[in-house]
Symmetry: C2
Subunit: 196 residues, 2 copies
């Protein structure tokens, strides 16, 4: 599926009737912003409750001026110990990380960290649903890849395996997520196909 004229094909769209037309006004939005918009839509439409976790920050110094809000004067970014998004969908715990790559042929594993893998494995062990949302930006294609597919390549890289997940694997084992007007990254529909 290519977009030679810069427009998305709606051929494979799973958008509900009357909502086929994609919104081109905000195409500059990041994957994360698109997911936030999707989550807001899911919440309002009663589809799922999923939130992005706030960026973890180590606060060192706070100023409390009279008659106005506290100002954080010194703080540092901390490494997150989990993935970025989690919540509940159809009674199930879901947990995912969203990643973009400028690569067309593979997703480099350097985009993921060991502590995220540990977290995702723990989630799966406890009966949650863990996955990646992968965006191949040059192709304008977004996929949901179950974390089991990620683990396969992640673990294999230490045994002399490749350092990336081939695009062909993602296309075969993942579910493509079409762009919708409201559910810009409609991962819930992809989850339906895989898990429900």
């Amino acid at each position: 599926m290519n977009y030679p004229n810069g427009k998305r094909s709606t051929k494979q769209s799973h958008a509900p009737k009357g909502k086929i037309k994609p919104d081109f006004s905000n195409r500059g939005m990041s994957l994360e912003e698109d997911i936030n918009v999707t989550n807001q839509y899911y919440l309002e439409a009663g589809i799922a409750v999923v939130h992005k976790k706030p960026t973890p920050v180590q606060i060192v110094n706070v100023d409390y001026p009279k008659r106005s809000a506290a100002v954080i004067k010194e703080a540092y970014f901390k490494q997150a110990s989990t993935t970025d998004f989690n919540g509940v969908y159809r009674g199930k715990y879901i947990d995912f990380e969203a990643k973009e790559t400028k690569n067309k042929t593979s997703f480099p594993l350097s985009n993921v960290h060991q502590h995220q893998i540990d977290h995702m494995k723990a989630i799966e062990k406890h009966g949650g649903i863990s996955f990646l949302i992968l965006c191949f930006s040059p192709l304008e294609e977004v996929y949901l890849l179950p974390s089991s597919g990620l683990f396969l390549y992640w673990d294999d890289q230490w045994n002399g395996g490749r350092k990336s997940i081939p695009y062909a694997f993602v296309e075969k084992e993942g579910i493509q997520i079409p762009f919708h007007f409201q559910a810009r990254v409609d991962y819930a529909t992809a989850l339906d196909k895989l898990y429900f």
Copy 2:
């Protein structure tokens, strides 16, 4: 259950054998810290995966000095749109807020905000488990109260009802959480009694 000598009774403890003795060295810890310690223990023992969400912060100005970490120079606290803790336990999505009160006879509803209630109701609607962990600090008693009990008093307060949840109600409808050495706030055991 009173602690006239400043020590906790271990009579009703559900601690595993050999782990009966509470650790008095960190009695100054807050409820939140005790829950964080518990979550770490649950994670390592393979019992549950639950994390506290980072405090949401609106970052306004960041300095990127050469050869050292980025410093946040101006930021503001934002109101959280969800509860503080969520995760997966025995395949279920769980979601809770932890609150302390210095009150002995009731838990004031002013400790909870409407957006948290909205969030908790959404969680329940989607099949998640939502609850409060309430600490009556003068009594040194901690309870797990299912959010349905909170909703009862929350909704009733707008119809001329009282502005607090009586201690007697929490004691009757909630599950008391004894203090353990590792699982300081052993809410998983309380969940077992209520939901599994």
